[in-house]
Amino acid sequence: MINLDHALIVSFLLFGTGIAGVLLRRNAIVVFMSIELMLNAVNLALVTFSRLRGDLDAQVLCFFVMAVAAAEAAIGLGLVIALFRRHASIDLDRATLLRS
């Protein structure tokens, strides 16, 4: 049968990839994609824990994570469009409005 520890390792690797994307990339869209990747890694960990424990509560939590991810994507892409209107670019290094 499937080794659930390996599923947790996959989740760990996906989360690390997402963190690397957020830290290294300066393109706002790619940073959002990396955040989605991290949320998916968390979902995978939740499903794994749900199967380990044999109850469904973690899968319900996973459903809520997806709903929050949808809301976050809508707001985030609205922010990207607003950023593009202001700077004609979505390079995050140029978003320095709050820097005193």
Partner: protein
């Protein structure tokens, strides 16, 4: 057989995740992200979480990715420069580090295997719906409010002055 498919989909998810953050063109990155989402849906199916696999395809690979692709095409984004840290040497270092991590963790086996699916605890729609509309009714309703706030917020953000 199930194990073979599990490792296939897991490797596909991690690889396409890596391709998402290393492609210069955001459009290519978005398509690899779709691949990662589908691979994860496959992993969910193999772990008997059928409802989540369906929602993963519908919400992530459907709705969220269409939103991403729409914004990329709306803003007409071209390839951008990768940061200098993603040079060839650092890329090889990253690959070596992840290979070492994988080997380290593959050696670590606590012997926890996927249990046989028990009725009512494996991820069928009915069992999840019973939780969702029972114990978790209030969070479910709050999610609806959250989505409404997100709609109003994104319209307010993207509205032209």
């Amino acid at each position: 057989m199930r194990e073979v498919f599990f490792y296939f989909f897991a490797a596909l998810a991690v690889l396409s995740g890596l391709l998402v953050i290393t492609r210069r063109n955001p459009l290519t990155a978005a398509l690899y992200l779709v691949l990662a989402f589908f691979a994860l849906a496959g992993v969910y199916v193999l772990m008997d979480a059928f409802f989540l696999a369906a929602v993963q395809v519908a919400v992530y690979a459907g709705a969220i990715m269409v939103l991403f692709l729409f914004v990329i095409m709306l803003l007409n984004l071209g390839p951008d420069d990768l940061p200098p840290i993603m040079t060839r040497r650092v890329r090889w270092l990253y690959a070596a580090a992840s290979a070492a991590l994988v080997l380290l963790f593959l050696g670590l086996d606590l012997g926890r295997r996927l249990p046989a699916p028990t009725p009512g605890a494996a991820g069928e729609v009915g069992a999840i719906a019973a939780r969702l509309f029972g114990d978790y009714l209030l969070p479910f309703e709050i999610t609806a409010v959250l989505l409404l706030v997100a709609i109003v917020g994104s319209v307010a953000l993207a509205h032209r002055e």
